[in-house]
């Protein structure tokens, strides 16, 4: 009996050490904040009422869904559109992520991170639009699948660059495509 009582502090110390080791392992391996809660797609369109050939080569045609979205816009209206670039990035639970739709240029950059939980298929973001090294705009939209955010951006080659931010999917939800 006396031996058991003498060994109790050692047993207690061992239990505490093992618990602390387990919690530290959990902190290193399972960063919940780095988990993806969805996918965000940022596209850059070129819109012009003039000759679309001014934009040069390398631009691609829009998909039917993109055309459908652009036709429904009330303020942003052009006769011709082309896709300049696009980038899809994961929406991380508590970390900022960047989309760089123009692969060879930093003229258009979008930073984003959730500012709240995913509620009813919607998520509120902290979204920033950067042009090169300059922050142009900060917004806090609530994005949901099927309703993109369009930003009429800077002029380029006789037209305007249009940035489309669309929530493509949420974890546990059906994809937009």
């Amino acid at each position: 009996m006396r031996l058991i009582l003498q060994s109790l502090p050692c047993i207690f110390l061992a239990i505490v050490c093992s618990l602390s080791a387990q919690t530290s392992d959990v902190g290193v391996t399972n960063d919940v904040g780095a988990e993806s809660v969805g996918e965000l797609k940022v596209s850059v369109f070129y819109g012009t009422n003039g000759d679309v050939a001014q934009a040069g080569e390398g631009l691609t045609a829009l998909s039917a869904k993109q055309v459908e979205h652009l036709k429904k816009l009330k303020k942003i209206k052009f006769s011709h559109y082309k896709v300049v670039g696009e980038d899809s990035q994961q929406l991380l639970r508590s970390y900022e992520n960047w989309a760089k739709p123009l692969k060879q240029s930093k003229q258009i950059l979008i930073s984003f991170q959730p500012s709240g939980e995913v509620v009813d298929r919607s998520v509120k973001l902290d979204l920033e639009f950067w042009q090169k090294d300059k922050k142009i705009m900060k917004n806090a939209p609530v994005l949901s699948i099927g309703k993109p955010l369009f930003i009429l951006g800077p002029e380029w080659r006789g037209g305007r660059l249009i940035i489309a931010v669309e929530l493509m999917s949420l974890v546990g939800e059906a994809s937009a495509e």
């Binding site: 631009l59 300049v84 003229q107 919607s122 042009q131 939209p141 609530v142 949901s144 009429l152």
Partner: protein, 230 residues
């Protein structure tokens, strides 16, 4: 007492007598006024002297400093008026401290009106926010746009299909820059870093922020056409 000498009487009149001699002369003058008048030939009497004194005084005399005198009088009058006003105000305050029932209600009307307006405004805001929440289920809402740079203007348009933010005042992208997506290592292998595609996303993002001019990788459209021609 016998009649004092003429010299003693003159000293008494000039006020130079003292002690017992002064009392003796005064007691004699009181008991023998006729002899005193005869001695000094002063036959006009005390009443006549009194009248002569008043007659010699002016009927009115200007004060030595008339302006100062008038100023002090006006100051005194003003002080009296102010004291009177303060007493009147004090009486009014006493009345105000104990208002009647209608006065109490009148004072309560203003806060009640403010509360009613606030309640109406809060109700309208809550009503709008509920609509916003309903819309947010299918789109983008809460579009408060922050523009840190002056000269840039944003106009937000919300619809059921999309949200549009029209920015004006932005610096145009140079027409010389080819920003399209079709450039690849196959086209310009020497201009784009060989391991660009293999770089981790974090490294690429770091380069975006740290590299001052990544566009230097690219050629202008005219130079590119020249290379094709060549």
């Amino acid at each position: 007492m016998n009649k004092p000498s003429e010299k003693t009487l003159r000293l008494w009149l000039e006020g130079e007598l003292e002690g017992d001699r002064k009392q003796e002369v005064e007691s004699w003058a009181e008991t023998n006024p006729e002899e005193l008048d005869a001695e000094f030939k002063c036959d006009i009497g005390w009443d006549a002297l009194n009248d002569e004194c008043f007659a010699s005084m002016p009927a009115s005399e200007e004060p030595p400093y008339p302006e100062f005198f008038n100023h002090k009088i006006l100051q005194t009058i003003q002080e009296e008026n102010e004291n009177a006003l303060e007493s009147v105000k004090g009486q009014e305050l006493e009345h105000a401290s104990s208002p009647g029932l209608w006065q109490k209600l009148r004072w309560m009307l203003a806060p009640a009106a403010v509360a009613a307006v606030a309640a109406f405004y809060a109700g309208s805001v809550l009503s709008n926010s509920s609509n916003t929440l309903a819309d947010s289920k299918s789109g983008v809402t809460n579009n408060s746009v922050y523009l840190p740079n002056s000269g840039i203007v944003a106009a937000v348009t919300e619809s059921s299909d999309a949200t549009e933010i029209v920015l004006s005042g932005l610096t145009p992208v140079s027409d010389e820059l080819d920003i399209a997506m079709s450039y690849s290592n196959d086209v310009f292998p020497a201009l784009i870093p060989a391991n660009y595609a293999e770089r981790s996303r974090d490294e690429r993002i770091f380069n975006i922020v740290s590299d001052p001019e990544p566009e230097t990788y690219m050629l202008t459209k005219s130079v590119r056409d020249a290379i094709y021609y060549y």
